[in-house]
């Protein structure tokens, strides 16, 4: 499975994680190129359906970045994201998708290194998992 190159979709909130990802870039930190990041204003915008859709359409792993607890630009969007993702993980197991293929990570605007490290670790985890093999048509969700 060493030559497996996973497809990883990311969602990052504009204020913390996306800024942290930018800082990783400005600081020229390196991480694997598998991640494709989608910017949203708040992790609370991430509809669980986006995640299911991404898995359905071929993502091997999904990385979600939000502000640290208490730091959300919109007061509490990150808590809502956390709850939704916790619930969704249970559902994923039922669909035959390893819940560990979905990760929520708190990354602040100053944590470029933490972002780079988290993405690297997540990519390696998904590489070890291998391709996501959905046995059932997932269109039924």
């Amino acid at each position: 499975m060493a030559d497996f190159n996973p497809t990883i979709i990311g969602f990052a909130c504009n204020w913390c994680c996306y800024a942290g990802a930018d800082l990783a870039g400005t600081s020229r930190m390196k991480y694997p190129p598998n991640l494709r990041l989608i910017r949203v204003m708040c992790s609370g915008r991430i509809d669980p359906q986006f995640i299911l859709k991404a898995f359905k359409e071929g993502a091997d792993g999904i990385f979600i970045g939000g502000c640290h607890p208490g730091d959300c630009h919109y007061v509490s969007g990150n808590y809502k994201a956390e709850k939704r993702i916790d619930l969704l993980k249970g559902l994923l197991a039922g669909l035959g998708i390893e819940p560990e293929r979905l990760e929520l990570h708190w990354v602040s605007a100053s944590e470029g290194q933490i972002f780079a490290d988290a993405v690297t670790a997540f990519t390696e985890r998904i590489r070890a998992f291998g391709p996501l093999a959905l046995t059932e048509p997932a269109g039924a969700y």
Partner: protein, 672 residues
């Protein structure tokens, strides 16, 4: 929506070599040209330059583009630039999409083929999103013509004075009983040896007397709501128990107070009473009473001060108050604290009375200090014959979590060594440093002068301080000699570094400000926006943003003030049109969204029997559309259709590339 297909222009920026060295820019542009709805795809050296922007404008006019995608740096960097360019050519600025192939691609990846592949994916995703973008109208809101300055050290005082001078109302909030901050504790300032009090006190008086400034001492910020131009700040003001407008600071109350407590201003090197003036030059020039330390609270046991006060301005029944203030901008000038030397037990601080912090030593040097400016050992009151200064205590030290240089301590110590030599010329003075950082105007010259005065600077990192036969012994690894030496001395001064002031984390959470890894407040851009924050209308001044000396603090305070003044003078601010919208025909009025909204922007309309959005209150987080079971709510500019399109475009590659990958997406085939 029955519209003709969008005509998209895609522009790939080389950013000099910043993008071009890891991403094959030409290949990405050629690829972009093959994508649906793309009318033109170009690459250019610097898209943000004038010719780069002109390229876009020209194409909009000549080719009739209806959408623009620029693949370059982060939208946090140049989205406003290109929105402006698009707008300049007559297109709605929200029909522009930015694709980040620098911070999140070329700068973080090494392999050119992989980075190019990723850039193509990101461009494909941006094009898919751009096709679905809709024009939005900017909204404008009035700016409240008042500024709140939080913290009244030299930074806050300067910012308040500048804003007030420009004719705007200022609320200057200070948590202590007097304004002045740490600068009031300093004896002399480096490298000019100005008397700190002499240059600060007039400013303190000016700011307190300015008709546009309202001083709020003993006050802290509890809550902040609103946005740029119209913040509501709730300030909690502790009771002073003394009517500051009546008190003449005669001191009769303190004379009769039986309590003796460590004096915070002198860092516990002297005592004060429970009713006290923080320091002689305090502003407001009024006493205050510490209710917890006073013997006269409940039951009334003492009350001597009440009897002694001729003007009857002491009031034990005063209560804390909480008030809301409406302001257009906020300046954060909360300053710093010094590093807690107790964190490093090897230096014996707190164990040996003659091991002092540099701020304590500063109070010893000050004529207004506990010894009247006489430098003596705390243990026996004798003048020290040998004094050791230690640099970088709590700075440049990963072990205590402070990797940064505190910037002021080298010069602070050099100045103190000078003051010591000045007062006790025969004393041996040795300074153990890691590196001397004398980078400012006149700093190196001052360092030279102090060396010539006989202060010895030795490169070495002290590891331990202990006592032997009544003497303090500093064990130090002399890094130039390459051996460990033991230095017997009478007094040690720890050059403690700077840390964020107490309560910084609560304030950051209240205001939703970001912190940098050193825990100081994070500026919007490290080079070009050093006084702005990630929150529009909130500015930084002084050490709140990072350690700095007085001139840098004053300069930044003036910068913060001018940013606030510019905002207030403009009178109106643009409010993001990214808000939620409810399709009233679809809403089933289940009220799920109502409970989720942190701004109470979702309101039930009893006549229509649907939820509605108050678009002034809505901040556009998008928590509600993600929860709406009827999909009645749309977040403008981040619609589900737009995000779905991004996702589909990002993952579309896998369906065509290799059989191994396409095999694991059976749903696509099943649906077909």
């Amino acid at each position: 929506m029955a519209k003709s297909a969008p005509k998209i222009g895609v522009y790939i920026c080389h950013c000099g070599v910043n993008i071009a060295q890891t991403v094959d820019v030409k290949a990405v542009a050629e690829y972009a040209a093959t994508l649906p709805n793309v009318a033109v795809a170009r690459d250019y050296m610097y898209m943000c330059s004038d010719p780069g922007q002109d390229l876009i404008k020209k194409d909009i006019k000549e080719l009739g583009l209806t959408r623009v995608v620029v693949a370059a740096c982060s939208p946090r960097m140049h989205e406003p630039t290109f929105r402006g360019a698009v707008f300049g050519a007559g297109l709605n600025p929200y029909l522009y999409e930015m694709c980040n192939i620098r911070e999140q691609c070329s700068w973080v990846h090494v392999d050119k083929a992989e980075a190019t592949e990723k850039a193509k994916d990101l461009v494909r995703s941006a094009v898919a999103r751009a096709s679905l973008l809709e024009p939005l109208e900017d909204r404008y809101a009035d700016v409240t013509k008042a500024v709140m300055v939080v913290g009244a050290g030299i930074a806050g005082i300067q910012a308040a004075l500048d804003v007030a001078e420009a004719g705007h109302k200022v609320y200057l909030v200070e948590k202590e009983a007097s304004i002045g901050g740490h600068m009031a504790q300093l004896d002399k300032t480096f490298p000019t040896l100005d008397c700190s009090a002499c240059i600060l006190t007039p400013k303190m008086v000016d700011v307190s007397r300015h008709p546009n400034v309202e001083l709020l001492t003993l006050s802290t910020v509890k809550q902040v709501s609103g946005f740029v131009g119209s913040f509501t700040v709730t300030v909690h003001q502790k009771a002073r128990y003394v009517d500051a407008s009546q008190c003449t600071a005669c001191g009769d109350c303190a004379k009769v107070c039986p309590q003796r407590l460590p004096d915070e201003f002198n860092l516990g090197l002297s005592t004060r009473t429970a009713i006290y003036q923080p320091f002689p030059q305090a502003v407001p020039a009024a006493f205050c009473r510490n209710a917890e330390q006073c013997l006269g609270s409940l039951p009334l046991a003492c009350g001597k001060c009440l009897a002694a006060c001729e003007k009857k301005c002491i009031d034990f029944d005063q209560k804390d108050i909480e008030r809301d203030y409406e302001v257009g901008a906020i300046v954060i000038a909360t300053g710093m604290d010094v590093f807690d030397a107790l964190t490093l037990p090897e230096f014996g601080y707190g164990k040996y009375p003659d091991v002092l912090t540099s701020l304590e030593f500063e109070r010893l040097c000050s004529a207004g200090g506990p010894t009247g400016g006489h430098i003596v050992r705390i243990s026996d009151g004798e003048e020290p014959k040998d004094v050791v200064f230690i640099h970088c205590v709590g700075s440049r030290d990963k072990a205590v979590g402070n990797e940064y240089c505190s910037r002021v301590c080298c010069m602070f110590i050099i100045k103190q060594a000078h003051l010591l030599k000045d007062k006790l010329p025969s004393a041996n003075v040795t300074s153990y440093y890691m590196d001397i950082r004398a980078y400012g105007k006149g700093f190196e010259e001052f360092y030279d002068r102090v060396r010539e005065e006989g202060v010895r600077f030795k490169r070495g990192k002290p590891s331990e301080i202990f006592r032997r036969k009544g003497k303090l012994v500093v064990r130090v690894d002399d890094t130039l000699l390459g051996k460990v030496i033991e230095h017997e001395t009478d007094m040690v001064v720890l050059g403690v570094g700077l840390v964020p002031s107490e309560g910084y984390r609560e304030l950051a959470q209240t205001l939703k400000l970001s912190l940098s890894s050193d825990r100081f407040f994070l500026e919007a851009h490290p080079k070009l926006r050093p006084v702005d924050t990630n929150i529009d209308g909130v500015y930084l001044a002084g050490c709140a943003q990072g350690p700095k000396d007085i001139p840098d603090t004053v300069a930044q305070a003036k910068g913060a003030a001018s940013s606030a003044i510019a905002l207030l003078n403009k009178g109106k601010v643009k409010v993001d049109p990214i808000v939620a919208d409810i399709d009233e025909n679809v809403c089933s009025s289940c009220h799920i969204c109502e409970a989720l909204c942190p701004y109470q922007a979702l309101i039930y309309d009893e006549h229509k029997h649907t939820m509605t959005v108050n678009q002034i209150l809505c901040k556009g987080c998008g928590v509600c559309p993600s929860a709406c079971p009827s999909e009645a709510i749309t977040l403008k500019h981040f619609t589900s259709a737009q995000i779905d399109a991004q996702l589909e475009a990002l993952l579309a590659r896998d369906m065509t590339e290799t059989s191994e990958v396409s095999d694991r997406v059976p749903s696509q085939k099943v649906e077909a």
